[in-house]
Structure formats: C-alpha cells, structure tokens
C-alpha cells in the first residue's frame, strides 16, 4: 500500500504539529544545527528505520517520513530529543557496525535496533538510549503510520484513533 504526503499531513494534524501551511518551509540541505547533528542525518536515520519497522508492502516511505519529520522538528522539545538521540544512536552504530545506521543493510539495521534494545525497551523520552530510540525513532514512526488513514487501512480501520475521520465511518459495515 502506498503512503502519500496526504497521509503524513493527516498524521501530523492528528498530533497537532505544522499543518499544511508550515510544511515545506524547512530546507533539508541547510545545516544550521551542526553542533548536535545535521538534520540530513536525522532524516536518513528515520527513513532507514522506517524501512525496518514498517510492513514490507508499504511504499512511499521516504516522502511520508520526510513530511512527517518536518512537522515534528517544529516542536522544540521533541526536536532536541530527536536530534540528540539520533546522534548518539549513529555513534553507537559506527562503533558496533563500522558505519552510520542509514548505510547499513536492512538486516543489519534490524539487528542494530535490537542490539541497542529498542525492541523490548519501554518508550521514555528522557530515558536510556534504548528507551529514547524506542520513543523518538521506533514509536514515533509507528505512531505516524498507524494514525494515518493508509496505516489504519492496513489493519482494517480507515478512521484510526487520533485521526479526525468524521462520524460516518463508525456507522458503516465492513462491506461499505
């Protein structure tokens, strides 16, 4: 199933960030926060992680994640935690696998996420690296996907919790 920009905007609207007007204002190439990590790496890390945590028959992931991320970076606290976590995570990736996370093969990325403990960790925004990777990377991606209409549809609910899909869908039967 194809994820669209509309899905990302819908997911963002759900979480109250950006809105269509604010999107596109950010220039990915601009690297004005190089003290922490450049947002290019944040983006590549999230896109690379999405390829692992999203189901395999989902396409359009890169655009979806980029659009979603633009909105997420508008929220200062979240952006700070996300940048720091991504930086640390890639450092560890360098140490353990000799390369930054986005450069690893998909199988190694899956392994890396598990090695760091993000599969079993509870999400905690100011917790250990495992807990933060779970919060800012894994769960943020899952939240974006499964509160978007396309993500909901994958499971069979076209108006998932958190998405303002109106008051018709709950009345409809499965064949409608």
């Amino acid at each position: 199933m194809e994820l669209t920009r509309r899905d990302a905007v819908a997911a963002l609207a759900t979480l109250g960030v950006g809105g269509a007007a604010a999107l596109g204002a950010r220039n990915w190439q601009r690297d004005d926060r190089s003290d922490v990590v450049d947002d290019e790496l944040v983006r590549n890390t999230l896109v690379a992680a999405a390829e692992v945590v999203y189901p395999s028959d989902v396409s359009g992931t890169a655009t979806f994640v980029e659009t979603f991320l633009e909105g997420r970076l508008e929220r200062d606290d979240h952006a700070r935690g996300l940048r720091e976590t991504t930086a640390e995570f890639n450092d560890v990736s360098e140490q353990w696998h000799g390369d930054e996370f986005p450069a690893l093969s998909q199988a190694d990325r899956d392994r890396m996420l598990r090695e760091v403990g993000a599969d079993t960790a509870e999400e905690i925004p100011d917790g250990t690296l495992a807990e933060r990777v779970r919060y800012y990377v894994v769960n943020d991606l899952l939240l974006a996907l499964y509160s978007s209409p396309t993500g909901g549809e994958l499971v069979g609910i076209e108006n998932p919790q958190g998405h303002p899909g109106g008051t018709d869908t709950y009345q409809r039967g499965p064949e409608a």
């Binding site: 979480l15 109250g16 692992v52 899952l142 609910i157 303002p164 009345q171 039967g173």
Partner: protein, 529 residues
Amino acid sequence: MSADRTPIEDADVCVIGAGPAGALVADRLADAGRRVVVLEAGPRFDPDDRFERSERAIRPAYDLPDVWDGDPERDAHVSSNEDWFYPLNHTRVKGVGGSTLHWQGMVMRLHEDDFDSASERGVGVDWPIDYADLQPYYAEAEREIGVAGADDNPFAPPREEPHPMPAFKPSYSDGLFAEACENVEVAMHSVPNARNSETYDGRSACSGYGTCQPVCPSVAKYDATVHVERAEEKGVTVIDRAPVQYLEHDADSITAAVYATPDGEHRQEADSFVIACGGVETPRLLLLSESEQYPNGLANSSGLVGKFFMDHLFAGMGGTLEEPTRQNHVGFLTSESHQFYDDADEEVGPFKLEFFNYAGPSPVESALGGDDWGDELLERLRREYGTHVGMGALVEQLPREDSYVTLDPDRTDDRGNPVPDVHWNVGERALRTLERANEIQREILEELGAEITWQVGPENTGPAYHHMGTTRMGDDPDESVVNARLRTHDLENCWIVGSSVFPTGGAMNPTLTIAALALRAAEHVDAEL
C-alpha cells in the same frame, strides 16, 4: 486573562473551583449582575496544547494523570482501605475546566425513584427534593452543556422538550447487538452525549478523533472551559493556580478564602462563598478549615462532612465474534439500555447497560506497546483488531458509614496540608448488582455468538470516577451538611455545589445532575445576597 492573582474588591460571591459546578454558578451569577471571582487550584491550560495532550493519551510513556499535568506532590493522597483501593488521581483533573477536561461526556438525568431511594427501594435515604423540582433545571442544563440525544428511551423520566441536538446515530456494532438484544428481549436506545452532533453554540461538530477521553482535540466535546470563558466575557474574574488553603470564618459565616499563588498567599473576601471543588476536595477544604467554633471541621456540626463517600461501580464483559465489528472509530457510546434500572429494590440496585464502540485494542496503542515491528507487527495488529465486542454497566452503591473521605494527619501535600484519604467501601448490594449486570451481559453476548474473553464483575470491579455523597443534602441539620437549597446548615453564606451533595448516587453519570443543581443553587445564592 492576566497573571494578576491578587483578590478583587467588593466581591459579591467567591466561587472556589472552576469545574462545571463552579463555572455554571459563576456564569449565572454574572447574568444576575453580581461581582464574582473564581479561585481555581490548577492551571489554565493552553487550548493549542490539546493535540500534544491527545498524543500523550495514546503513548505508553505517559500515565493518565500526565495528560493534564497531574502533579504527584500537589495531588498526593492516601487510600487506606486495602480491599478497595481508590486511584484518586485517575479520577479528576485540576485546572480551569476541572474534571470535564478528561470526561467521557455521557449526560443523563437521574430517574424519579433515585430521589426516593428509602421510600421506593427500601434502602438508602430520600433526597429532600424530587425529580419534579429539578426537571426544569435539567432541561436548562442540557441547553447550557449542549446535549445530543433522542426521545427513544422508554425508561427515561419524563421530558418537557427534545434535546438541543439530534442524537448520534447508532454504530455498526450497535446493529449487531440489536438483533441479539431483540431475541433476549432487551431494549436498546440512544445515549445522550455532551458532544456536538452538529454545530452548537459556536462550537463545531464532532469530527471523530476518537480520543474523547481523556482529550477532545476539537471543541466538539463539552467541557467547563465553555462556561468559564462565557463568565469571563461577562466580567467574572478567574484566578488560576490559586488553591484555597482554608476558609476564615466566625460562628455564622465565612469571611475570607485564603489562597496560595505562585507569588504568595492572598485573602479573598466576599459576601457569599460557593465551594465547588469536587467530591473529595470539598470535604477536605471544610475539614482543613477547622477552628475553635468548628473543631471537627467547618460546617460539620452534623459530623457528616466527608462521610458517605460513593462512586459508581463498573461491570463489563466482552469477547470476539467471527465477523468484523468496526470498533475504535470514535471514542464515545451510541447505545445503552436502562431497562433494568427501575427494577431496583433492597437486594439489587439500579444499573444501566452500555454497548461499546471501542471494544478491543486500538491498533495505534497496540503497535506502540509491543516488542515487534515490520510485517510481524502488522500481522499481530490484524489478528488483534477487528472482531471485538464489549459491554459495560454502571452500578449504584449505597451510602455507607464505612466509606468516607478524611484527612491523613501523617502525610502532607506540596503546601504542608494533610492529604485526603479516600477510604472506600461498596457493600453487598453493589456486589449483587454487579453480578446481575454480568448475568444480562453474558446472556446478550452469548446470543450474539461471542466468545467471551474478559469479564469485570464483583472480583475485579473498579470505580467509574464519580465522587458523591461527602456533604450530603437534607432537611435535618443532624443528618446532613447542606439544605435543599445547597446552603450549609451551619453557615449562612456558605454554599456547596457538586455531587458531594447527592444523598444517594443512582447509577447515572452525575454531571448533568451536578449542572442542574448548580443552576438551581445560583438562583438561591442570588436571592439571599
């Protein structure tokens, strides 16, 4: 809105607490031209943060009280009955709007017999007022709050006019239940919702976010900020982050409310005081205001302040069908049955049945809480979601001596005040009623062909988050704290609004009755000024 938290001059009325009870009284008194100040313990929340709060409601990193910035030190409490733990901070919100920021928004009237429990059912006590006394105020409360409902409930008490908005249509799963209910002769009907089925009062219609409880990111679900804002437009001063510490008084009246603020303590004088702090903090404030005249607590000559704490109990059952049930699109209910409500007697209390629209896991929440991802996760979500059905019920408990709110002398809050101890007990009749509700739920679910996977009954029940009974209303000053007009028997300028004045609880969600009583009390407060 300003950060000036100093008292106002020449106040006619000081209202304490900015939940629906306090907000409605303030708004009404402003209409009557009174000079009103509202002191609210919690903060004023920024409406723009609602989406972030709604995200917190979905994410496992946050606990329910975090959604509305609960503070464990400020809100410290004790639950001294180990058999009946009471999770107080899951059951209230402190801030402008009060607990309605978090509520579900089901708003129904009590039944006629609820006002006459002793005479009609042989247990509990009678209220000093009847349904007929409250009926016009119920209608007014429905207009104020904005209730979507229909006239299709054959068990409801008499109405004088239609609800302000049409009811929400039944859900797909209501339709599945309807067939089974018909076979076992249970009548279903709509649910009155404090939620806009169409634009109402300048607020937009529900758009199906599905996180209604604990946050509606749109303004479709009513909360008491509606009336706080309306009151402010009429000139009422609302001071947030201003917890009242105690009430200064002489033998016959309150002279000032002493409140803390981030920049020091202040005294608010007024001709009359309306206490609207909810069913736990209202008795606590009276107990904290003890003095030589009132050594057991203010307005407590009867000794009943804090006594007879009641909540409604939850009974539920659910399972899965072999077909899709389309759950979790919206976070509110569209069908109930009040068929068994008026069968209540000494042995079994009143209860109402609810048909869920959000049975089973919500896929988003389920995704965030697992230790799988990718295809494996999707397979799990598909397996988990889709075929659940569920039913709930609210059950009455009786007022009991051994169920009460008191102060814990050994534990203090962030300001050094003894914390509330909610010592909760429910009694045998409530347990029997839970069993009876379970019986009917099982009959319906079995008729529906459900494989039953969970049950909440006498062994594992919990509270429905309605704090009632702790400053009960009555005609006899020895047997009650406030009179039928909601003025305390002891003090001539002290009024109490909220479910703490309910002598018995019935089994209906309390807030419409709280609102009706508040509108009625506002007239009395005004008349006696």
